[in-house]
Subunit: 281 residues, 2 copies
């Protein structure tokens, strides 16, 4: 596995792959890999001849009061894990390489970024779409792989690719969970023992939501209240948002119909966790 | 010469060219061709195996009180002219093809778009960078060709390409002028006979500016006043802006140093003309 620190290095690497007609897959990450990341890499290896994993904690998608400085990092361990699942190259640039002095160009998707995490993290998705555009232009993948845990991110990127006529396919893979249902996240390491014990309530509340939908409940206010009550019963849980919206436009709905997503962000102490469940009726 | 109305058609055309290892050049235009456009196409033919001209009056770069509806069009004549200089394909989509219902993604360059035309035409450059990004992704050219008449546009696009790591080279070609010095522009057809007689004052004022610089004048306020006085002496000329700024950052300068641009926008009646001159000391 090759480790590339500069844009030129990774470009040369993928250019060589394309010259011998290999397809290229990209898994954009911020590192500190868990089973969710490794699942994306394994799937990428099944579909693409050559898999590039980008590992870059993108400052542009963090707000001024967010956890950029404390974001967990373990580069050696990440490289070993990526290599163990057959990744061909890691692209791990520094900030000067990605945003040199005078940097001033941005990609923005309006509309669906005004909801959910876009509302509680202003500027977050502009940071995501900008860095992802750069990574797509640098690596030029045939497919790029994202996780359904960041459901809104995946929808925003799919919309950007469609609107701006980008030449690749976005593949979104299901959430990978711990045995007790907690969605895997690099941020789970922030949780105290007590918070960790409480956190699976997010998934339980989403399963109860799905069960209610399956038994015929269509009243969105009532379904939302069900999730809320269950989460508030957990010690230390502070709700950032709980929303039930249409997919893929993320419009408000009063009566559940078609494809919808229940999405939530909940804080345990300083740690903000997200989870979601898509249902179709 | 092939005329493509859809994104799929032009993609197939350029994919075929790339398959046989032809290089692809793109000349983005809004049509109503003059010698300036034809010069871009001829230069593109010298450098690239296959030249695509996009012909699209992009509504996103026009303000609500601007001349979108009246922008001059003559598709048959444009096709004949493009074919006469060896263009391989015209890409002429309609608005639904470029901005389908629900369209919501934008590319923006900050900083250098706050000056000159960016100030007098808010949102203009966001429209330009968005449509140009789409055209680059659709056509995937090796080189794209722009005219120095829209000097700020060329700088904004070069900055966008560099910042977002786009995979192509931007080539900017000198202004093509009428015999009396008026910069060629599709908007020149709007001018009355009297306005047309007055309009070459723009170029004369820029030549006087250059002559003053050549004879050692470095006081930017004085140089600017020289341009202003000459233009105001012409009947019907209303100044939108006259600026002398550094290149390529478009910063304000008090004393002329290094590479600078004198850029101006002047109205004759409803018609807004632009011109510029780059000097290096």
């Amino acid at each position: 596995m090759q480790v590339c620190r500069t844009i030129n290095e990774i470009r040369e690497f993928t250019d060589r792959a394309r010259t011998v007609r290999k397809t290229v897959g990209l898994v954009p990450t911020m590192g500190y890999f868990h089973e969710g990341h490794l699942n994306l890499m394994r799937e990428a290896k099944k579909i693409c001849d050559c898999v590039v994993v980008s590992l870059y904690v993108n400052p542009l998608q963090f707000g001024p009061r967010e956890d950029l400085a404390e974001y967990p990092r373990d580069f050696e361990r990440d490289c070993a894990l990526a290599e163990s699942v057959g990744v061909d190259a890691i692209f791990a640039p520094d900030d000067d390489e990605m945003y040199p002095a005078g940097y001033n160009s941005y990609v923005e998707v309006s509309g669906i970024t005004d909801k959910l995490c876009g509302l509680s993290r202003p500027g977050h998705f502009r940071g995501v779409t900008t860095v992802v555009t750069k990574l797509f232009n640098i690596v030029r993948p045939d497919q790029a792989f994202f996780g359904q845990k960041d459901a809104q991110q995946a929808m925003v990127i799919e919309k950007m690719v469609r609107d701006l006529n980008m030449n690749l396919e976005i593949i979104t893979l299901p959430i990978v969970r711990e045995a007790d249902g907690l969605a895997m996240s690099s941020r789970n390491v922030y949780l105290s023992e007590e918070q960790r014990r409480a956190a699976p309530v997010l998934y339980r509340s989403l399963c109860a939501f799905k069960a209610a939908v399956d038994s015929g409940e269509r009243d969105v206010a009532k379904l939302r209240r069900g999730i809320e009550e269950m989460i508030l019963s957990a010690p230390g849980a502070q709700i950032d948002y709980i929303e039930i919206l249409s997919v893929p436009d993320l419009e408000t709905v009063n009566t559940l119909t078609g494809k919808c997503i229940a999405a939530l962000a909940v804080r345990f102490g300083k740690t903000r966790l997200i989870d979601n469940m898509v249902v179709e009726v």
